[in-house]
């Protein structure tokens, strides 16, 4: 079959995208054809979401063109795309929580009779669209009261209620139960029959294999393969997604000996509704990685562990059971957590560097009731010297620092309490490669000093390059812990996407 034979509904030609100096997409060409499902797969950070946003008009390509029905177009934003029948269903919902299902579906284009809303007709139409999805939610239910999967269904119903030509779905089944996913697949079949072109992003390779007509693989912002789905096995896809050598970016690994003291034991840890039955042990000097898809519950797990969320299960510190009800308890046990949300939860952006560096350790640095300006200045000196924080002036608000310097400042902040266990959550997100390398070396050095480290990362090379063991999470559970030769991308992807699970079922 010659793919050039027909004009695609929507296509991109030679598209590149840069954010500042960072190029996230290189020369991408992609065709979405009527009545076809085109799956786009790749690791986190491969550029899938950026590409979807270009297709739907939320981003403009730096180079290249978006072509609709053979005509180059420039979309002025998401609403413009929607007006032309291109609908993107986000990973985050775009629904007004306090309105009802029907009010959401008709938001901004309500049907009226004279000056009044035609509620009966809107309700009837909403019902029809929901029925098509086999979704039993009442049209009059408030969106805030719906489950996550029902919200997703409402999003999809909203998309299908429009004159739909191209439907772009970003991990639509991540929050759906298998039954709901099956209903979605039946809907996809109906939409295909109606000639809608569908772009489908998923990490679940079994799903891709089942639903896609064509598969495109992105890696590091480049298109590495685009083939008919029938030609690819799931293992081929995993291999294409990974297929990369580890650069010399990481410090040499020095795993702790088997006799190293176990400083932390977690047994059957759960966070209600998000994480269930996770058990692992951590040794002095060890770097334990946590890999998994976004939403697999890694952040929730460690936030529960350090007391920032309610948890169930047991935590033993050096063999002694500890409660860890809040961050103070964790600090008292010399456990610190570096949040992934450094702007929202890590740093006081409007304050200067010194108060940020000392905030966690203020009662150690200033044991009396009064602040000790000299001790705080010294702490900042230490931060600058040890972690190479670079700022023009010391009295700058932290907001003005680059992401890398903010991250280093946050590192300095938690190291001020001289922790024995350090949990890093996405320690290099949004940071340039040079600073990344510095941070890898800080982490390795912390481990060499005898601290136990946990590193959560969505970048697989990072987890593999840095960590001695890697725990893989999937859907709120520990899918497996990999050691030695098993720590490679193929294995991690197989566990993270559910191709493989370890026989730990009985442990919970």
């Amino acid at each position: 079959m010659d793919p050039q034979a027909e004009t695609p509904v929507l296509a991109v030609v030679g598209v590149a995208k840069s954010f500042g100096p960072v190029q996230v997409l290189h020369q991408i060409g992609l065709r979405l054809e009527a009545g076809q499902v085109h799956a786009i797969i790749g690791e986190n950070g491969a550029g899938k979401s950026t590409l979807m946003k270009i297709l739907s008009g939320y981003h403009h390509p730096t180079e290249g063109q978006v072509v609709l029905d053979g005509q180059p177009i420039t979309l002025s934003g998401g609403p413009d795309g929607e007006a032309r029948g291109i609908v993107l269903i986000h990973q985050e919902f775009n629904l007004a929580e306090h309105l009802t299902v029907e009010e959401n579906i008709f938001l901004g284009r309500e049907l009226t009779r004279g000056p009044f809303l035609d509620k009966a007709r809107m309700r009837r139409m909403t019902r029809e669209w929901l029925d098509a999805l086999e979704c039993r939610v009442p049209a009059t239910a408030r969106v805030a009261d719906l489950s996550v999967s029902d919200k997703q269904m409402v999003e999809i119903a909203k998309a299908t209620s429009r004159r739909l030509r191209v439907l772009i779905m970003d991990e639509p089944t991540a929050v759906l139960t298998p039954t709901e996913a099956a209903a979605l697949f039946r809907l996809i079949d109906r939409l295909k029959a109606q000639g809608v072109a569908i772009a489908y992003i998923s990490h679940k390779l079994d799903e891709v294999k089942a639903v896609a007509d064509r598969v495109t693989v992105l890696r590091d912002g480049r298109l590495v393969a685009s083939r008919a789905a029938a030609e690819l096995s799931q293992d081929d896809m995993a291999h294409l997604m990974v297929g990369r050598e580890l650069a010399d970016l990481y410090p040499a690994k020095a795993p702790p000996s088997a006799e190293a003291e176990v400083v932390l034991e977690v047994a059957g840890l759960g966070v209600p509704g998000l994480v269930e039955g996770v058990s692992f042990a951590l040794r002095r000097g060890e770097i334990l990685g946590f890999a998994g898809l976004i939403g697999a519950g890694r952040t929730e797990l460690v936030e529960g562990l350090v007391g920032l969320r309610p948890k169930t299960g047991r935590v033993r510190r050096r063999g002694r059971e500890v409660a860890l009800r809040d961050a103070r308890d964790a600090v008292a046990e010399r456990i610190v957590y570096l949040t992934e949300d450094r702007k929202g939860k890590g740093l006081l952006l409007d304050m200067q560097m010194a108060p940020n560096v000392t905030l966690l350790a203020l009662d150690r640095l200033c044991p009396g009731p009064f602040l000790d300006a000299r001790a705080e200045t010294k702490a900042l000196d230490r931060a600058v010297a040890t972690f190479d924080v670079r700022a023009g002036r010391r009295d700058l608000a932290v907001r003005a620092l680059s992401g890398g310097n903010q991250q280093k400042l946050m590192l300095a902040k938690v190291m001020e309490i001289d922790p024995e266990i350090v949990i890093f959550d996405e320690p290099t997100r949004g940071i340039d490669i040079g600073t990344k390398q510095q941070i890898y070396h800080f982490i390795a050095e912390a481990a060499a000093q005898g601290r136990a480290c946990i590193v959560i990362s969505s970048e697989l090379p990072e987890v593999i390059g840095l960590c001695h063991r890697v725990a893989v999470m999937r859907a709120g559970r520990l899918a497996g812990i990999l050691e030695g030769g098993d720590v490679n991308e193929g294995e991690i992807v197989r566990y993270a996407t559910g191709l493989k699970t370890s026989e730990m079922k009985g442990a919970a």
Binding site: L308, D326, A327, R328, A330, V331, Y337, T339, G344, K345, G346, L347, L348, L349, D350, M351, P355, L359, L360, L362, D363, C366, P369, F370, L371, K413
Partner: protein, 333 residues
């Protein structure tokens, strides 16, 4: 002055912080305006009188600075002032039977006032932090409660201090030291202690941190509930201190005591440059704000341009204008 065109605007030798300077500039402008309106404005008698009367609000505003800096709000301060004054008067009248009409009774009564103020603040703080309820709602509720308690205690009328006690207590408002009335000394001490607490202690730093971003504070192992509760206790103590110098002025308390003081105190804090959304607070600014409000009222009385009955309207306008000004300064940064 000649402006030399430069590729980049030269930085001033010192940075003029508008948030710090604006309240002072406004105060100076008011003095000039007052002097122009009526020559009696600048007389020592008038100014002393105005400043002394502003001391109540200024002291309450010092407490409110902590609450607002830590991201909270206390609408109950006016009602609380009436309640504390009422309880203090009852306590003093009762204690007089035991200890006679002397300073012993007055000092014990003052202690009762401080304890009641602290307790009233503690109630606010605990309900807000333990109950996880918006400060606005909680203090709106306690505002009604404290105010109605006074009405109940006064049986709908007025609580009056025994005349003998009044004679003993009176100098606390009407006399002073070195020509400066006692209320201003009290204000100076409260202001100095407040500034020390806010700028030079861990507690003050935590107030800034919590008001700036409560999540960051929580992730930084700060005991948020305790710090927030403390700010409300501090507010209660400040209200009680204000009552200590208010009661000798009139020697009575009723349901209308301290009416709209919450509006004046919050206005003073905002005029003073403290951010209403929290994270940034100025004790000195709040005091300047309270003085500014008092001067505006005084100038309106002394001039015939605007009816003094519109004083509340002017204060209302000022708080809205101050927030607008704050935002435009913040936007320029």
């Amino acid at each position: 002055m000649t402006a030399v065109p430069q590729p980049k605007p030269a930085r001033l030798p010192f940075r003029l912080d508008l948030r710090l300077a604006a309240p002072l500039i406004a105060l100076v402008a008011l003095f000039i305006l007052g002097a122009l309106v009526n020559s009696a404005f600048l007389s020592t008698g008038n100014l002393t009188n105005v400043l002394t009367r502003s001391a109540f609000i200024a002291i309450i505003a010092v407490g409110a600075t902590f609450v607002i800096t830590a991201g909270g709000l206390d609408l109950s301060v006016g009602a609380m002032a009436a309640f504390v004054s009422g309880v203090m008067i009852i306590a003093m009248n009762w204690l007089m039977r035991e200890f006679g009409a002397g300073w012993g009774t007055v000092v014990l009564g003052m202690l009762v006032g401080i304890v009641v103020g602290a307790a009233a603040g503690l109630v606010n703080g605990l309900v807000i932090t333990r109950g996880r309820i918006e400060a606005f709602i909680v203090t709106l509720g306690t505002m009604g409660i404290y105010r109605s308690l006074v009405t109940y205690l006064a049986d709908g009328g007025t609580l009056s201090l025994n005349t003998q006690l009044r004679a003993v207590y009176r100098p606390v408002y009407y006399e002073g030291m070195l020509g400066i009335p006692w209320p201003l000394w009290v204000l100076a001490v409260v202001g100095a202690v407040g500034a020390m607490l806010l700028y030079f202690t861990r507690f003050g730093r935590y107030c800034f941190a919590i008001g700036s971003n409560e999540d960051v504070a929580r992730y930084s192992a700060i005991n948020i509930d305790r710090i927030k509760t403390l700010t409300y206790v501090l507010q209660g103590v400040c209200v009680a201190i204000a009552c200590l110098i208010y009661v000798p002025r009139l020697g009575s308390a009723s349901a209308t005591t301290g009416l709209l003081w919450e509006l004046e105190a919050i206005t003073a804090v905002i005029i003073g440059g403290t951010a209403l959304k929290g994270g940034y607070g100025r004790i000195g600014g709040s005091i300047i704000g309270a003085v500014t409000l008092a001067l505006i009222g005084n100038i309106m009385n002394l001039s015939n341009m605007v009816s003094e009955y519109l004083n509340g309207a002017v204060q209302g306008l000022i708080i809205v204008a101050a927030v607008l000004l704050q935002r435009s300064i913040a936007a320029r940064k």
